[in-house]
């Protein structure tokens, strides 16, 4: 790989400011000091945590394909007028009116969601109950907050039981389907 080379004016400017930054920025100084040494492959890699072993740490290149997200949005709109609700200006409406609309949204979206995915609580204990997290607990499923010190096991109270999608079945899409159309305009003849 060809290294990037700096033009002369940039090199002059760098030569001017670098002594001062090396003097005051210890972290930068350490990085510059390492530049002269070849990268050291002999450094032992830190042993991965047992719980993390199953997780595939892949760096996602760019944003994910948007179709499934748009599809879910279309389902929530179709069944429960979700987009209509979010896009509407709520100011000026009484809570009772908003409540009535919320019933439409709640009932329809629950139905729509149930058709495509199955949700379950991650922790089965009641919220507020005392829980203990053993060493090697899965940090993606459980997040600790508050007075986090020392090593697991941690003791605390369950603030939120969490949600996990157990299964997901989005409808298959036909060829030529435009996922950007969340709801077509309707014209009554």
């Amino acid at each position: 790989m060809e290294e990037e080379r700096l033009a002369l004016p940039a090199r002059l400017w760098l030569a001017l400011i670098l002594p001062f930054r090396v003097l005051f920025d210890a972290a930068l100084a350490a990085r510059i000091e390492g530049l002269d040494r070849p990268p050291s492959p002999s450094l032992p890699a830190p042993a991965p945590e047992p719980a993390r072993q199953e997780v595939k740490a892949e760096v996602v290149e760019g944003p994910p394909e948007p179709t499934p997200a748009l599809q879910l949005l279309a389902i929530l709109q179709r069944e429960g007028r979700f987009v209509d609700f979010l896009q509407e200006d709520m100011s000026g409406f009484a809570d009772a009116d908003i409540g009535a609309a919320a019933r439409v949204v709640h009932e329809g979206c629950t139905r729509g969601l149930k058709d495509v995915l199955e949700l379950a609580a991650i922790r089965t204990e009641a919220e507020g109950a005392a829980v203990e997290l053993a060493a090697g607990y899965d940090a993606t499923r459980t997040r600790v907050t508050g007075n986090v010190t020392g090593e697991p096991p941690f003791r605390g109270t369950l603030a939120h039981h969490g949600w996990r999608v157990e299964s997901i079945r989005l409808p298959a899409l036909s060829e030529g389907h435009d996922p950007l159309i969340i709801a077509p305009a309707e014209v009554e003849l």
């Binding site: 599809q71 279309a74 389902i75 179709r78 007028r81 209509d84 609700f85 896009q87 509407e88 709520m90 409406f93 009772a96 009116d97 908003i98 409540g99 009535a100 609309a101 019933r103 439409v104 949204v105 009932e107 058709d115 495509v116 079945r169 989005l170 409808p171 298959a172 899409l173 036909s174 060829e175 030529g176 389907h177 435009d178 309707e186």
Partner: protein, 588 residues
């Protein structure tokens, strides 16, 4: 490996269940269907609706299924939802039309009252479309097990007469079934589902002498049957002893009745609803009904009716359905507390009626039940009606404990008045999938040997014969109905009418044809006035031969292995045999 497959071809929903070689309980097949333009998803129920879109109403290819790439119409979820806002292009209740003798069932009449220019199809073709979809869904999921090689059982209402049963078979052939599938009555299928659920333990829950009343209240129809528990050489046997009439009343009528009640309240307060809002209200009432009919139900259930435009918060109407409203409309309207001597109001004969499905004039299901039990009582019995000792509920509405309690409570009062004990309730079946599960279980019981419900044909059948008497101008000759096939004929059995007829060869001949589900004691050849019988489609045939010749024939009636009635004319003393077919072009 061969599967046994049960198909519930319902008035409002279809389902398909199957079971393998092991003794595991039947399971439902997820049925792929278009749920929105361009989206295909699987559901265990397929709404029995067919929508015929206008040209370019949906983007090209958006109704396509893997087995129907150039779809011109759509069945299932999308058909139902799209049809709700475009009723002129929606085919619904095809099954009720298929069993209605008042119209030409092979004629292109659906959607009923469709505007000009909408392509139409016949009740037969619509039924074939639903069956064809189910067959394709099966073969999509089981490409190595074509449906033709499985043991398939198709359910029909117990009240379906011989003509409707034959048309159902014909629809199956039209849908690409190689052979007509075996037919099973829906209430019997529900009973089989219960037997499947109980396993061998069912014998501990019923005893000899028990009479089980099956109450099947679906989306669009209500069906009753009585199944007696008997003993044969020390083994408990089940026998279906009576079936009710075809009543076009179900859960959908209840939702609509509730919606109209709420609408009238809103209108009294000065709020009018458009069609779109009324549909939303009907939907809301269904949810409210289920909530208010559950145990520990609240005093009222809120209803929110959204407007059609994108303004949701400003445009949503708020109201509620109160429990006393529900009880007045639903329990008192559909399940009124009546005496066992009560009978449904007779339909009013008006000079001008719009042709359409024969909806009952009386919505009181308990009155229909009283009539059914009353007429099923054996002649000479001191009891005024058949005393059921157990009840099995099936159908969506009966999931509600309040509805079940109401029916059992009324039955209990009737029984108590005649010294009987309150009936027990047989539980444990899935009210939505019991019929298809039961049909798959029955197919396996037939194949592998298991408990079977006996009963034979559910109706007695008659042909109309003109009396040979002096003709009086202006008065049609009187007609006797002569029994050709008695009640309870088993599959594979055949009877011969003792009377011989002279039939003219070479020109079409036609008989009037009648059925009765209440006359269980008429023997072959016995004559009765046709008054109390139900007139079915006429029988017609053309006997080939030299025109003008008269041959003497006897009428044979045979119940086929798959459960249809076959009538034929057999030349006396000769071998010639003509099949007599039903003329389903409809009556004037």
């Amino acid at each position: 490996m061969t599967f046994t497959v049960g198909i519930d071809l319902g008035t409002t929903n279809c389902a398909l269940s199957y079971a393998g070689d092991d003794q595991a309980a039947p399971v439902a097949l997820p049925i792929p269907q278009v749920v929105a333009p361009g989206e295909v998803a699987e559901r265990t129920l397929m709404p029995s609706f067919l929508y015929v879109p206008a040209e370019a109403q949906f983007p090209p290819g958006s109704l396509a299924l893997s087995w129907y790439p150039n779809a011109r119409d759509v069945v299932g979820v999308l058909a139902r939802s799209q049809g709700a806002s475009t009723p002129g292009r929606l085919v619904s209740s095809a099954k009720s039309w298929l069993s209605y003798a008042g119209v030409d069932r092979r004629g292109e009449i659906l959607p009923w009252e469709a505007p000009e220019g909408v392509p139409r199809l016949s009740p037969l073709e619509a039924t074939a479309r639903y069956l064809g979809h189910l067959r394709a869904a099966w073969e999509h999921a089981h490409p190595d097990h074509p449906l033709a090689e499985q043991d398939v059982v198709l359910t029909v209402p117990a009240s379906f007469d011989a003509v409707a049963r034959e048309l159902t078979q014909e629809a199956a052939l039209l849908a690409g079934f190689d052979e007509p599938p075996r037919l099973l009555e829906e209430p019997q299928a529900a009973m089989y589902a219960w037997l499947s659920e109980r396993g061998d333990g069912w014998r501990d829950e019923v005893e000899v002498g028990d009479v089980i009343l099956v109450v099947d209240i679906g989306g669009g129809t209500t069906d009753f049957s009585l199944i007696a528990v008997r003993e044969d050489e020390g083994v408990l046997q089940l026998e279906r002893v009576a079936v009710g009439d075809h009543i076009l009343l179900g859960g959908d009528n209840m939702d609509l009745a509730l919606a109209h009640t709420v609408r009238m309240h809103l209108e009294a307060e000065g709020t009018t609803l458009d069609d779109w809002q009324l549909r939303g209200l009907t939907h809301g009432c269904r949810t409210a009904k289920e909530a208010l009919l559950s145990e520990d139900a609240p005093a009222s259930h809120p209803l929110a009716i959204a407007s059609r435009g994108s303004r949701l918060v400003g445009g949503t109407l708020r109201t509620e359905l109160r429990r006393e409203q529900l009880e007045a409309v639903l329990l008192d309207g559909f399940f009124p507390e009546v005496e066992v001597s009560a009978r449904p109001a007779a339909p009013r004969r008006m000079g001008l009626t719009t042709l359409g499905l024969p909806y009952p004039a009386d919505a009181g299901i308990t009155r229909h039940l009283a009539a059914f039990l009353g007429r099923s009582a054996p002649v000479g019995d001191e009891r005024s009606f058949v005393h059921p000792t157990a009840v099995l509920f099936n159908g969506g509405v009966t999931r509600s404990p309040l509805v079940r309690e109401r029916i059992v409570g009324i039955l209990g009062q009737w029984l108590e008045a005649e010294g009987g004990a309150a009936p027990k309730v047989l539980t444990g079946i899935d009210a939505e999938l019991a019929v298809s599960h039961g049909a798959a279980y029955y197919a396996r019981a037939r194949r592998d040997g298991g408990v079977r419900i006996r009963g034979g044909t559910a109706q007695a059948y008659y042909v109309g014969i003109e009396r040979n008497e002096l003709a009086v101008p202006g008065i049609p000759p009187r007609v006797d109905a002569v029994c050709v096939a008695p009640f309870g004929m088993e599959e594979g059995s055949e009877v011969v009418l003792p009377q011989a007829f002279g039939l003219v060869v070479g020109e079409p001949v036609s008989f009037r044809f009648f059925g009765s589900s209440s006359r269980r004691d008429d023997a072959v050849g016995s004559a009765t006035p046709p008054g109390p019988l139900t007139e079915l489609a006429p029988i017609e045939t053309t006997l080939e031969g030299p025109p003008g010749q008269v041959v003497h024939v006897r009428v044979h009636a045979r119940v086929t292995e798959v459960g249809t009635l076959e009538l034929s004319a057999v030349e006396a003393g000769a071998e010639r045999r003509w099949k007599l077919s039903f003329d389903v072009r409809g009556q004037e």
